[in-house]
């Protein structure tokens, strides 16, 4: 606790001193009489001053919230002794703002008094935030000494990206050997009926279709499709982003898309992993379950565009991050050649690849003049060339803008994948 004189103390001491000196100099006792109450006030105040005893407890309702969702912060101020001139100064962390009514508090608390202040704080964009700190100041009863009480930190808040409910997902070309919710094309133990065939030596008796056997007078068995799961890798571009002045950008959208996709695939019992490919590499191995969703979100919350000259390619990604037969969903604004080359490399290695292009076009505008317009059109053409090249190699690309649901590019990519699988007419 730090004590310092207030402006009032300085003013009163000055008034007392000026009155006394002027009275003596001018020989006017009236001036001394006018200044005397100020001097007595200061003397009595300094003798009777006591340090205010103040305790502040901070309770944050939740440490995890969705972006733009208010979190209730309860401040409990307890006064051990009478406190006057109470001032609470809230220093919010970067990216955090107050939702609803601003902070208000009583200026005076009696001894043993209790004051509870509810405050709503929110983070407008996903990420890990320092909520800030609260500093309390109080003066003594006479307002002569100001006491600065110790700072109370509000702790951290993790703002999770908002998720979109997705009905249609990209189907992987190949499934894994482990059990899941997807019906495999091959035959095995499962629920979905595939076909009937004559019994051969080695078939299990429980597979015999007794009705068909009775009708045909020869044993038949029912074949079924097994239920398998898939490996899905969300391959995020963190090399470059296009950002607007309002705080939004392609990386924020990409992380939202990745979170929605991870939640949807994990809900269908698929194994999901994430790779942030850019200046720094972020990797989460493909696993199952709700815990994996939070593992991916936690990893993605730290993703940011780090400028790098390093010529990185797919060989920088540890092999276990890209399991064989995995469906790789690239989420990128397709601005950096290193990421585009990595996508081409992945496709060349035989991975099942689809790309959701987080469109940077809403964040980019044509420059002034004819040459600016021409440059913009050339840039658009170059982007179209990249898309065409990816499509030619068998990786469907769909553009996604902030103002449309994520389901739209997924449907487009899904259709693209179906077309690619269709045999070409001779």
């Amino acid at each position: 606790m730090r004590a310092s004189p207030t402006r009032k103390l300085q003013l009163y001491v000055a008034a007392a001193a000026v009155g006394a000196v002027a009275g003596l100099a001018l020989g006017l006792p009236q001036l001394v009489a006018i200044a005397a109450p100020f001097a007595v006030y200061v003397a009595v105040g300094l003798v009777l001053t006591r340090k205010p005893q103040l305790t502040i407890e901070v309770t944050v309702a939740r440490r995890r919230a969705l972006e733009d969702e208010p979190v209730l912060v309860c401040l409990t101020v307890m006064a051990g002794s009478a406190v006057d001139g109470l001032a609470l100064e809230l220093a919010l962390g970067a990216g955090v703002d107050v939702a609803g009514a601003p902070l208000s508090w009583p200026r005076r608390l009696a001894a043993g008094g209790l004051c509870e202040i509810d405050l709503g704080l929110r983070a407008s964009r996903w990420g890990a935030y320092d909520l800030g700190s609260l500093r309390a100041r109080a003066t003594d009863r006479f307002g002569l000494i100001r006491y600065e009480l110790s700072e109370v930190t509000l702790g951290r808040l993790r703002a999770l990206p908002s998720r979109e409910t997705l009905r249609l997902l990209l189907a992987p070309l190949e499934l894994q050997a482990t059990t899941g919710s997807r019906t495999a094309r091959d035959r095995g133990e499962g629920i979905e009926f595939a076909e009937n065939r004559p019994f051969v030596s080695g078939d299990r008796l429980r597979r015999i279709n007794w009705r068909l056997t009775a009708r045909r007078a020869t044993p038949y068995v029912s074949e079924r499709h097994p239920e398998r799961n898939a490996d899905v890798i969300l391959f995020l571009d963190t090399f470059a982003e296009a950002a607007g002045t309002g705080g939004g950008g392609t990386l924020a959208l990409a992380v939202r898309a990745a979170t929605s996709l991870a939640a949807a695939y994990l809900a269908r019992k698929d194994r999901v992993g994430a790779v942030g490919f850019g200046g720094t590499l972020i990797g989460v191995r493909a696993r199952l379950g709700l815990e994996q969703l939070y593992r991916i979100i936690d990893a993605l919350l730290g993703s940011e565009v780090v400028f790098s000259y390093a010529q990185k390619d797919v060989s920088f990604v540890p092999r276990r991050m890209l399991p064989p037969k995995a469906l790789i969903i690239g989420i990128s604004p397709l601005l950096d050649d290193r990421y585009i080359n990595a996508l081409l490399d992945l496709r060349a290695r035989g991975f099942d690849l689809a790309v959701i292009e987080v469109s940077p076009e809403p964040f980019a505008q044509a420059g002034a003049g004819r040459s600016g317009e021409l440059a913009y059109r050339l840039w658009l053409l170059q982007r179209e060339a990249v898309r065409t090249r990816l499509r030619e190699l068998g990786a469907p690309v769909a553009r996604w803008r902030d103002d449309e649901p994520l389901q739209v590019p997924l449907a487009v990519t899904s259709e693209g994948k179906r077309r690619l699988r269709r045999p070409v007419a001779a």
């Binding site: 207030t6 402006r7 009032k8 003013l11 009163y12 008034a15 006792p29 009236q30 001394v32 009489a33 006018i34 005397a36 109450p37 100020f38 007595v40 006030y41 006057d84 001139g85 200026r107 005076r108 003066t139 009863r141 307002g143």
Partner: protein, 84 residues
Amino acid sequence: MTETFLVPAIAAALLVCAEALTGPRRDPAWLGGVGIAAVAIAAVVVLAATAAVGRSIGLTVAGAAAAVAAVGLLRFLLRVLLGR
């Protein structure tokens, strides 16, 4: 007598105004108490000065008492008007 009435009243008025401007307590009870204390202190000083120059103590005491009464009346009126 006028002087012994005016000086404590001016002292009280100045201190009460300063107190009301700087805070932290601005309630009428506190301001009234501060005003009466200021009148008393200023009256004591005026009395001491009067005694030192050999003027009439009776008139001085009467002036100081009038000043205390004026401030007390003001405090009473404030409390009545503000309902405290």
